[in-house]
Symmetry: C2
Subunit: 340 residues, 2 copies
């Protein structure tokens, strides 16, 4: 199989360690990939690119249109823009797909049957990053929502449901307060929903929706929601499967895709070889599916599951009161490779 | 004791039923209150007041400065403004206090030691309700944050912690994305925090913070956060104590206060005598504390707890697999009164 060129960003914090182990697993599994490494993030910010992304990086992305990305920290203050947001917007990655599924009994969870896919709008909302100082006392941020943006993400969600045999989509917004913006998202959901009578549909206000999701996530199948709400509820649902460290995500556009863990760069544990590489590994599995390498994707997913079932647990999911073994980042990758 | 005049709004949906039972309990307990009833909500919206509040209601509020309010539905569409938001802003109720505490073993919960107070900023953020149609395709909503607003709520939170013997406050914002607005809230938290070295302080990004709160709420003591985040996480934490139907809230300003349940008007179960009056009853208990009627407040709180401990459970917390009895709204109020 010819090797597919992909762009790889090793990230900051725990990024480099979990990326190198993910790439080892991909290679051992025989994924047909030709990684091009780009430097983005801290070093590039400091070199004067306020987006944290230099021209070679954009050049590579223009060529490959696929990015496997480890977590990256945007330095606070100093006028830096979030690199995550810049990548999502510049590459037009309007759909952020976050599948969260319990791995019980391999991983302890109060919600053994949890299996929810969150489809998060990925370009609009408060993430546009348009902020102003209005008066010496008042600052503002603009929440932007477009009909075309709502239509794209809602249609994507329904098509995803059909393609993956999902039965119900719950839309969450706060349109009792934001009647124009959140109201538009909700209205578009109902309009487009009419074209998908085979998919059950409902709507919940985000406050009570998030509360029900946190309490009984097993009652949900798919959720489609706006950018910031999706950010919050996807961390919640992933955590309820055992750890935010277990979930990968796909950022999908019409002309490119970006795959990443949903967790951050965790500088507090960086360089200690204790981080769980599972989120990035799951992102890589999603990427292989996107590239049509389904067989390798399944092989990695199964080996990963076996390692967890065999009780080899990185620190974030390790519980002292069980018969599991606490393993390092590299030991966990070794265990996955041994089970391929 | 002279009776204190309070304003009472009986609300829509399940509002009237839970309010009448709450007032029965207050009366039976000997609370020194002289309720003035105002009409707000649906009927007033329809009579042409776009705020849902007529002049007599404002008159009463100007007199009493204390409102006990049942849930009210803002009709969707038609240019109606949220009555909740109008009341909070007009009365300057900048602090929304939401204590959430597990009642285990009286009420089943996975989090028996949960005891978290959420202090939610109550006037700013996206709740300003400033929305525009920018182009035929694009709508926007303005998120407004002021330094003075941040200072008021943060100081309130620290003073509350001292007054109530709380030890730690966690601030939650999304300032990796919203550096000016959320960044201001976070910065003010750190600045003012320096004046309270006796209170432990930390900060979490709202996505991972909400996830940890949903997973292990027992690890938190107090949370201070912005309006919309507070809306979402308070429903989550209340639900994890057993039901959103259990929590009351105090909306506090320098010249007035409003007490309400945190749940909505639940039109689907209205008029069936099945709603749980506990949230409003807890709001009434908070109101009595605010008015200095601590002894009556404690008597009601204890009677309420006894009724729950004796296994008398409204539908939202009733579980068929236990030896509890499912009771109606009125039966539950009877049970509380019998235990005063
Ligand atoms: C790092 C941050 C900008 C990002 C986001 O808010 O989208 C992250 O939390 C995520 O969920 O991918
Ligand atoms: C009804 C609604 C406007 C209100 C809010 O969003 O504040 C409610 O959810 C609450 O939490 O009190």
């Amino acid at each position: 199989m010819p090797k597919v060129p992909i762009t790889v960003a090793i990230g900051d914090g725990i990024g480099p360690e979990i990326m190198s182990q993910t790439l080892r697993v991909l290679e051992a599994a025989g994924a047909a990939l030709a990684p091009e490494f780009i430097e983005v993030g801290e070093a590039v910010y400091r070199a004067g690119h306020s987006s944290g992304i230099g021209p070679e990086a954009w050049e590579s992305l223009r060529r490959t249109r696929v990015l496997l990305k480890a977590p990256i920290t945007t330095p606070l203050g100093g006028g830096y823009k979030s690199l995550n947001v810049t990548l999502r917007k510049t590459l037009g990655l309007y759909a952020n797909v976050r599948p969260c599924r319990s791995l019980f009994p391999a991983v302890a969870t109060r919600h053994p049957t949890l299996d929810v896919v969150i489809i998060r709008e990925n370009e609009e909302d408060l993430y546009a990053g348009i902020e102003h100082q209005q008066t010496p006392d008042v600052v503002q941020c603009l929440k932007l929502v477009s009909r075309s943006g709502c239509e794209k993400i809602v249609r994507f969600a329904f098509e995803y449901a059909r393609r993956h045999g999902r039965r119900r989509i719950t839309c969450m917004t706060k349109d009792n307060i934001m009647k124009l913006t959140d109201g538009l998202f909700h209205r578009v959901f109902m309009e487009i929903g009419r074209q998908y009578p085979d998919i059950e549909q409902d709507h919940q206000i985000i406050d009570i929706g998030a509360a029900r999701l946190a309490d009984t996530p097993e009652r949900y199948d798919m959720v489609v929601t706006m950018n910031l709400y999706g950010d919050i509820i996807s961390d919640i649902v992933a955590q309820l499967t055992g750890s935010v460290g277990l979930a990968g995500s796909a950022n999908i556009g019409d002309h490119g895709a970006l795959f990443e863990a949903i967790h951050g760069s965790a500088p507090d544990i960086a360089g200690q070889n204790v981080a769980n590489p599972s989120g990035l590994l799951q992102a890589a599995v999603l990427m292989l599916g996107h590239l049509g390498q389904h067989e390798v994707a399944a092989r990695i997913h199964n080996a990963w599951l076996c390692a967890l079932e065999d009780g080899l647990h990185p620190a974030d999911i390790y519980r002292a009161d069980t018969s599991r073994a606490k393993v390092s980042t590299t030991e966990f990758a070794d265990a996955v490779i041994a089970r391929l």
